[in-house]
Symmetry: D2
Amino acid sequence: MQLGMVGLGRMGANIVRRIAKDGHTAVVFDMNADAVKELEGEGAIGATSMEDFVAKLEKPRVAWVMIPAGITGRVIDQLAELLEPGDIIIDGGNSRYHEDIKRAKALKPKGIHYIDIGTSGGVFGLKRGFCLMIGGENEQVAHLDPILKSIAPGIGEVERTPGREGEPSTSEQGYLHCGPAGAGHFVKMVHNGIEYGAMAAYAEGMNILHKANIGSREAGEFSAEETPLEQPELYQYDIDLKEVTEVWRRGSVVASWLLDLTAAALYSDPTLDSYGGRVSDSGEGRWTIDAAIDEGVPVPVLAASLFQRFSSRGESLYADKVLSAMRKAFGGHHELPHK
Amino acid sequence: MQLGMVGLGRMGANIVRRIAKDGHTAVVFDMNADAVKELEGEGAIGATSMEDFVAKLEKPRVAWVMIPAGITGRVIDQLAELLEPGDIIIDGGNSRYHEDIKRAKALKPKGIHYIDIGTSGGVFGLKRGFCLMIGGENEQVAHLDPILKSIAPGIGEVERTPGREGEPSTSEQGYLHCGPAGAGHFVKMVHNGIEYGAMAAYAEGMNILHKANIGSREAGEFSAEETPLEQPELYQYDIDLKEVTEVWRRGSVVASWLLDLTAAALYSDPTLDSYGGRVSDSGEGRWTIDAAIDEGVPVPVLAASLFQRFSSRGESLYADKVLSAMRKAFGGHHELPHK
Amino acid sequence: MQLGMVGLGRMGANIVRRIAKDGHTAVVFDMNADAVKELEGEGAIGATSMEDFVAKLEKPRVAWVMIPAGITGRVIDQLAELLEPGDIIIDGGNSRYHEDIKRAKALKPKGIHYIDIGTSGGVFGLKRGFCLMIGGENEQVAHLDPILKSIAPGIGEVERTPGREGEPSTSEQGYLHCGPAGAGHFVKMVHNGIEYGAMAAYAEGMNILHKANIGSREAGEFSAEETPLEQPELYQYDIDLKEVTEVWRRGSVVASWLLDLTAAALYSDPTLDSYGGRVSDSGEGRWTIDAAIDEGVPVPVLAASLFQRFSSRGESLYADKVLSAMRKAFGGHHELPHK
Amino acid sequence: MQLGMVGLGRMGANIVRRIAKDGHTAVVFDMNADAVKELEGEGAIGATSMEDFVAKLEKPRVAWVMIPAGITGRVIDQLAELLEPGDIIIDGGNSRYHEDIKRAKALKPKGIHYIDIGTSGGVFGLKRGFCLMIGGENEQVAHLDPILKSIAPGIGEVERTPGREGEPSTSEQGYLHCGPAGAGHFVKMVHNGIEYGAMAAYAEGMNILHKANIGSREAGEFSAEETPLEQPELYQYDIDLKEVTEVWRRGSVVASWLLDLTAAALYSDPTLDSYGGRVSDSGEGRWTIDAAIDEGVPVPVLAASLFQRFSSRGESLYADKVLSAMRKAFGGHHELPHK
């Protein structure tokens, strides 16, 4: 089967490479001609313009767009001008599902089908396969099955869920048609919301372990802002975090892929000095909270993990100054700015 | 009536001054002889040592201890050696109520009575009166009534609660016998826990208003870490916070004394540049959460407000670095340390 | 000056009554003819239809719309058809500020001016005055000054903020022009967000006090789900919440209007048995979090207070069942449904 | 090597079974004679009393205590009376690490060594092995190595952390000497704190997916307490949660053992109707927050997950009633109790 790919960043290029392993072919396009050339060298058909890209695709065309969310809309509009009824546009990037709903509706009168695919896997996707969450019409999703199967991880060595028997479902192979337009990005959005929460759970726990020797500090080492410990004898541990994360990988309740990665990161940089800790958030974490609020669903953990990212970037400073100002006013404590 | 005061910091000294207005007398002691001298100049009887202090008190002696929580226990032990059955020790400082329970039990065999008083009012106490939350035995609390009434604000200009009639209760005069030993500091502890939560509510709201013009920033002014706005036209406001806090003081649901103080702070320093925003926490906020956890009571708001203070002092940094390390591992995004 | 009022619910009617005290006149309309009749009885000019309402207004007409947010848009459209260039529409309800921005823009070509006013004060507004947060063009807000001044609380008995001198600002009189279209509702939105957080701070603290006698329970009274107390002797207090809230009203840091109301509620129903505790949320609390997320501002306290309201209505049940299912799976603990 | 086991519940019995596979022997005791008999049937040496248990152990004796935390202290005291210098007591249960520090200190003068082992693995431990976090003196932990290795999962099929080479560390085999007395339970405590947070992250995400079709509800299906949706067309999805959790197991960032269990639970009961959702918390989650507060470490996510468990059991009800009472007071909205 043939797939067209617009956008040859790491994700787009690796998807092309994964399908090639199973004998599928690809027509590829990117504004960066070198990226096109590189994949041509690996067997793909390169295109020099969007027109050329469309011209080289077999009908019905399948055009997977894998570019930053900020410009996806524009590129899809451009594509839609060139495509014909029956063709399929896939947005495999990080669009908000609201956009999917709008785009599917806008493309329908033209007979162009729209599929949204949330893609998880990051830099490991080429090797592990990409977990695919798919939204769109039944017929088109079914049509894409051969390619989706190649991109997804497959059943692999993961133990089968008790009770599941017979032919593995697509979900067991790592891809799932979640519902109509937007459903793929909706499920991916919630996936990332969970990711934020789970990451924060580990990070907070690591921080407690990291400070477990605070009781060994001399009284003089405490700043005036800190409450001295009532029982310093309880905090005299020097915990080796790279070993703790390693031991939890086997047999413990918190074993996970995120933990595997954390153990690896701590093994190569036990102090984490090579990291800044100003943590970005992509849109999904934010949209997850917005969706929860619309639905009236309480998400204290997911929201706290998002807000901690904001705080890590200094965004609570003004609020903190308001607190300092209040404390000065009623208690006379003046928390001064740093010099 | 006569009151002994050990500890002539702002709070201790102002309590002595308040009772003097009503004709009560005081014996005062402090390690700082100047502080003693100053109050002697205002009519108090100064003492030169703990022994002298005890000797100058009329029996049954009433010794109010108003010193930092860290040394209160030692001073009370010292006092207890010098006092006689029937005497009363008051801890008016910020002890944890656990200590009160222990101390009352330890002093009982000696016939010495122990009273704990949580005191709110800060730097305004001399003028407004101090709100007093009292724990201890009925008889002794009753005995102290004349002095407590003088220290407390009195019914003042605060509107009477609908339904309350006749002789004002002590609670309407700003002091309350809350229960047995520790009850005063327990109620004061929760009071401060609420204070943290309410302060944070205002501070977070101020921060939202403060950034309400984020949509007017040029795209180039956003750091790579920030998600660009979907609808910048919604965030084009330059809100004058000193005026907003002022307008809320009259007729709004969020009118409060904390708001009064915030309005005053913003009026004198609209940018809050004179504040550092590294916010201290005294013990009470922490103990409140501990107590809630012991009781199995959910306190998401109070806890969040405490944790935000920790974060304001940089205590989330290690956790944030763990997040950076994870993001690097699965997504290839390297959040570097600042130079 | 003359004001037109569409919507004679409690808020609308009381605004008409407040301006009447200062000699202003009003033309009033409501779908409910009885409501119109009632205000006619108090001196207002009643209208029988929207057309009649517009016809009876002096030019430039000032039409204040005070109706549920869900139907405000429709009524404003209807009004706009009947009004003329130079006329003013005021939305004094609880619209989202997004709507204000759209409406002001839509009305501009017609020469109709749009003003949004966030109004706080609730059932006490008639007596205390309404705190007004105003968005719109300078000229029109200035034109409305006489009426706004009458509706607002005025400087009253609230102590003046230190440093403020001379003629009181409008903010000191309880009304404030916050900025262009939407600014009034934006500030009101944040006001309500703060309100949620502050309310939750008190409520959580009350809950801790309420359970302060948990240590006196017999072991047998604990359900299997509860962790027994390590030190039951620390939780033996029977705190009288109606007295505690009363004592905090004078001299304490947490004194506030919300506390006044809580003290009154507890005085009339100390057990709170007349309340259900399924707490509604209007849009403002939600929109505040949405805005904070758009701005990248951390609001852990405000969000936690919103989510607690969702939970109070049972909205966490499915999540809780997921937790039960996990616990059963790894630990063998089966938390069964209630019969 | 020989191990003594006091307490033959699921965990204790399965540990005995795991070491037997590697040729180690066990002396076993339990108040329940049937439990002893069962393990005798599998080759263990049964004891009829604590004295008999001690008598049958080879010196230096190794007595592993695996019983509920509430009675562990008493049993250890009893054992200590019977043991001799050089013997080793292991607490493999869920004691708070504070107790370990006290016990190790108390046993030291008697020459009895104390080891604390936090054990994760739950009902799957027999098959997967138990992840062991160990506190105590170097010499004794080294002495126990053969048994610890047998209980732990071993290196298994988990991929090796990049950079690790040569002989696998004990952490790679699933057991780790974390530090002196208490360190094992300290690390296990934080492990469980993380577990709570990660569980809540999944649960909240599931809840958002579960309610993703709220937009298809008729307006009339919303209760008065609910805010109607601004854009119901965005919430029209019927997400199949058992398939979503399955697809995430392969290639996604949130793949984890907890997710495996959730997928299995949803596969066997897609509606989760067999679960009640009143979620217990054992001590560890609470102690984790206490420790974080002592250390001044912000843990918004871990705390929120604990509080949500409290709320799931109805513990926020009084706070919610306070909110209802306030809302009634200022807004006139009366949220009534259920009939």
